[in-house]
């Protein structure tokens, strides 16, 4: 089985600042990390690899310093890595990014499974998986919280708001993974040096079969017009009595007063 895991390098801190001029995330002075959901996608790939001896190829699109995240994925257990880097890719929205990633996956060839995190923690769109699967014309399963390999495909569980889905998916398939799927391991310190024995390949725009009008800013139909941080909302605070019974009674009263709790008539 051949697995491609798409990862994104995101700012380390959750205290992200917005650049008012560019309306984009201000990455200056903030070091990057692998998007946390992508760590779960990688771990899912490693679990499948342990059972089936699958080949795991990790891929990202971004500037040269994203190579740190690819090398980290190699130290975690990926077999090889591909960096998609070109000035022409700059300013890409999700559509243009998904187009380049899907062309790179086509170039790798014979890919059975594409894994991504459910979303990135910086842009939070959750669109990349569906976009890539459409371009590749393969099935997709989003928000997978459990993955098992079975004959000819995967058995996947999705825990949605009010339902639990148990899905069988034939290969090839694209799956986006939630943070409930597994418990990602830390990089082993000694494995870092050994990971440099594996290969990171860089593909530029000219290495792929791309339509120039569909990449970078030119190929991006969406434009961020404004972006702002949510305002801090101060909620009502109540001091409940120390006695648990009194506290419960008081809480029920408050909830009824606010019509949050309604008596069944």
């Amino acid at each position: 089985m051949k697995i491609v895991v798409g990862i994104k390098q995101v700012p380390e801190t959750t205290n992200v600042k917005i650049n008012e001029k560019t309306k984009n995330i201000d990455r200056r002075g903030i070091s990057g990390v692998i998007n946390q959901y992508d760590r779960h996608a990688l771990e899912a790939a490693f679990e499948i690899k342990a059972k089936t001896n699958a080949e795991v190829i990790v891929m990202t699109m971004g500037p040269d310093d994203f190579v740190v995240s690819l090398q980290e994925a190699l130290a975690l257990g990926a077999d090889s890595a591909v960096l998609l880097s070109d000035r022409a890719f700059a300013g890409a929205d999700t559509l243009a990014t998904g187009y380049v990633l899907s062309e790179a996956i086509k170039k790798i060839g014979d890919v059975d499974l594409v894994l991504l995190g459910q979303q990135s923690v910086d842009a939070d769109t959750g669109q990349m998986g569906p976009i890539i699967s459409e371009f590749l014309d393969i099935s997709q399963v989003t928000y997978a919280s459990k993955l098992d390999v079975e004959e000819g495909g995967l058995r996947i569980k999705r825990y949605l708001e009010n339902i639990e889905q148990d899905i069988t998916a034939k290969l090839p398939v694209l799956v986006t993974v939630t943070d409930q799927a597994n418990d990602p391991k830390y990089v082993n310190i000694v494995e870092i040096a050994k990971s440099f024995e594996k290969e990171v390949t860089t593909w530029h725009a000219s290495d792929l079969n791309l339509d120039a009008d569909r990449v970078g800013q030119a190929g991006s139909p969406s434009v961020v017009r404004s972006i702002s941080s949510p305002k801090e909302v101060v909620k009502d605070n109540y001091k409940l009595p120390d006695n648990p019974q009194d506290a419960a009674d008081e809480l029920v009263k408050i909830l009824k007063d606010k019509n949050i709790l309604v008596e069944d008539k």
Binding site: E12, S31, V33, D64, D65, V67, V68, Q71, E72, A75, Y186, V187, N188, I189, V190, E191, I192, A193, F196
Partner: protein, 374 residues
């Protein structure tokens, strides 16, 4: 980006995540229970923290002094005890790498991945004055017979391998390597120290331990040189620990002062509070620059004795003062055992004594200044 930079970035990402998830949430519990709770020690070993500085030829990760010190700094932000436990191991590994013969290196360095190595000089009769020790080794045929009592060993009890300072003649000091599986090796009393309570500090007793010549570290009579070398290594790493403690103090006190209001104003807007917080930040940054300079000099083969002494002497006093100022800003919360400030002061205070007192550091600094002008 070169391999060294990428490796360091990956390592520091991993360490930050490890500290955030596995260390920092248990800081108070480690202090109160005097143990590495939540299987922390197993996790440290599983992820090969003990191999950080160990050369690759012995199965280690081979990171240099500066990177290792940054790792110690990050860990100390979460819990200073764990950082000091690793510091004790790293400085000991370093001395075997530097002074061990091939037989000794091949025997013990691959084991350093899983077994803690400790460095022991102090005895009831002498600490800062090494000639005051009574432990001794006597040559019988092609063997050395070691007897003596070593106390206040960092990681004493947890460590399984010990570099021990002994007299090989009335005025001659030498180091040997012994381990807990040797006949005549016994663990003794564990200390009940005020701070850094997660670090086991204990005694070993050596009764006619018989070792081969290969267990001699360096040559006979090199005890003082090896001891000084270990101290220099330890002091650089202690600068990193102290920086981590001050970063922890700064996080706590800044967060508190930003949210705590007096007369409807966050107290961080008040000049008296601002001065204290600014001084903590200045001390933290100065200690960081001092330890990083010393580590850089070490990696480049330069004499770093004076810079290492400065990092420890300045950093330890500053971290205690920063803790005291933080306690004052937090008021009653600062004085409470339920908040971490008080244990950060106790932790920092240990480093005004351990690995050479601050008084001894000043002597070393002054003599180096005189030497450079002679």
């Amino acid at each position: 980006m070169d391999q060294k930079t990428i490796s360091q970035d990956i390592l520091l990402r991993m360490v930050k995540a490890f500290v955030k998830n596995e260390v920092a949430p248990y800081d108070m519990e480690i202090d109160h229970t005097r143990s590495y709770v939540n299987n922390l020690w197993s996790k440290v070993k599983e992820n090969d923290f003990l191999s950080l500085m160990l050369p690759e030829e012995y199965g280690g990760a081979g990171f240099n002094g500066r990177t290792s010190a940054k790792v110690i700094n990050e860990i100390a932000k979460g819990n200073a005890s764990l950082a000091v436990t690793l510091e004790g191991h790293f400085k000991s590994v370093d001395q075997i790498v530097k002074y061990g013969n091939d037989e000794l290196k091949n025997e013990y360095l691959p084991q350093a991945k899983n077994r803690i190595i400790a460095f022991s000089m102090t005895e009831p009769s002498g600490g800062s004055n090494p000639m005051g020790i009574n432990s001794h080794a006597e040559k019988r045929g092609d063997k050395w017979i070691i007897n003596g009592d070593k106390i206040m060993i960092t990681n004493g009890g947890l460590a399984e391998i010990y570099c021990v300072l002994v007299k090989t003649a009335p005025d001659e000091l030498s180091f040997f390597v012994v381990d807990n599986e040797m006949e005549g090796f016994e663990y003794g009393k564990q200390e009940n120290f005020l701070g850094l309570t997660g670090v086991p500090v204990g005694e070993i007793v050596m009764n006619n331990i018989e070792v081969d010549e290969s267990h001699l570290l360096g040559k006979v009579g090199m005890g003082k040189e090896i001891g000084d070398s270990a101290h220099d290594d330890a002091r650089v790493l202690m600068g990193a620990v102290l920086t981590g403690i001050m970063e922890h103090e700064l996080d706590l006190v800044t967060d508190y002062a930003t949210h705590r209001k007096a007369i409807d104003t966050p107290i961080i807007q008040m000049q008296g509070i601002q001065r204290k917080i600014a001084d903590i930040a200045i001390s933290k940054e100065t200690t960081k620059l001092l330890y990083q300079k010393a580590a850089w000099m070490k990696d480049h083969g330069q004499d770093y004795e004076e810079e290492a002494a400065m990092a420890k002497a300045y950093g330890s006093r500053s971290a205690v003062k920063a803790g005291d100022d933080s306690l004052q800003i937090l008021g009653g919360y600062g004085y409470s055992l339920d908040y971490p400030i008080e244990h950060l002061i106790r932790d920092a205070r240990a480093m005004e004594i351990a690995e050479g007192t601050v008084e001894k550091m000043r002597t070393a600094i002054a003599l180096k200044e005189a030497e450079s002008r002679a």
